[in-house]
Amino acid sequence: MQHIPLLQRAFQPLDLNPASHPEFFKGWEEVQFKRSDFITESGVRERHFYVVVSGVQAIYIIGNNGDKKVIGFSFDGSFSGVYDSFLEESPSHYFLEALTPSTLIRTTLDDYNSWFTLYPEFNYWGRIVHQHLLIGRVKREIELITMTAKERFDAFIERCPAPLLTIPQKYLASYLNMTPETFSRLRSLKS
């Protein structure tokens, strides 16, 4: 298993190592995607839970008018996948697309569930991760409802991870619920 440090960082605050958690480190497979490849398609069940080794991926839904509505991104070191489809074992409502050439490692639902049985400390990790997820989603919802386009742009740029600055602006604009033209104008004002 060549991605031990990556997994150890991704699953902080747990102190994981192959000697104490052999089953956890066993069940990972490396996969590669070209730019524009779909990792998961809308209408197909998500069968994996991913950790990103490299690259940027976008998760989006197709709106009624056929436009992509970006819900979030994953990038180096973060978790990825269509989590609700994965847990509910139901078809995904979203697309997960590699926006840049991407390498990810992945595990299955059976393996994922087994961690919580084999290693009780994963319940602590689960609590922390889901708290962060919930708080992040609430913050984003509040930003979308209460902030102007410029405020949303400024807030995003302040916390924007470096890899996201390399992807096409239309994805960032969609994530911030603004047109690519508005995004471009705000970006030029900033620089």
Binding site: S36, F38, E41, S42, G43, G66, K68
Partner: protein, 190 residues
Amino acid sequence: MARTHIKPEIQIERINALRNTLNQLRSKENRNWLHRPHSKSWSAIEVAKHMLIAQEVYETKIESTLSRLKPIEGSLEAIRPNRTPAFLIKRFPPQNGEIKHKMKTTKKFEPVLDLTSLSNTDVATILDQLDSSLAQLKSWVTAYRTTDVTAIRFNSAIGAIVRFNAAEACEFILCHNERHFQQMANALKG
């Protein structure tokens, strides 16, 4: 539903929806698949066979075209179909569960099956083939999505009077399938 633009992601979403529907319909018994609702209408398995025949006609044309298209940076957002393909495509899909614009099927697209001798295995084989053909259609959409798809046109199944690019052909096949999935579901209801 009328569409002014062809969007590959929407096509993929719709193909996946058809595959999920097919998977659900497979639980129906063999006699349901073989039953003709009226003496002149097709049984559900004949409808499935017709979809296979219709897609096969495009197989060589699309695959040969895809192999000659140039790759683009990133992926296509949307393709505006030409007037004639757009007209045909718009007429095909069922509207609110109803099949509009009845069309005559020419001889070469008619499913020739002896319903009295089809076994459970035969039915299962045709349904497996239909699922594979939907997977193939999806692979075409996935492939053209990263190419300059509008650069090459080819004759449709009815000849040079209608010429498609690969995106239009995939949309045509998909709309045709959506229409016949509705017919298949209706036939299974009896």
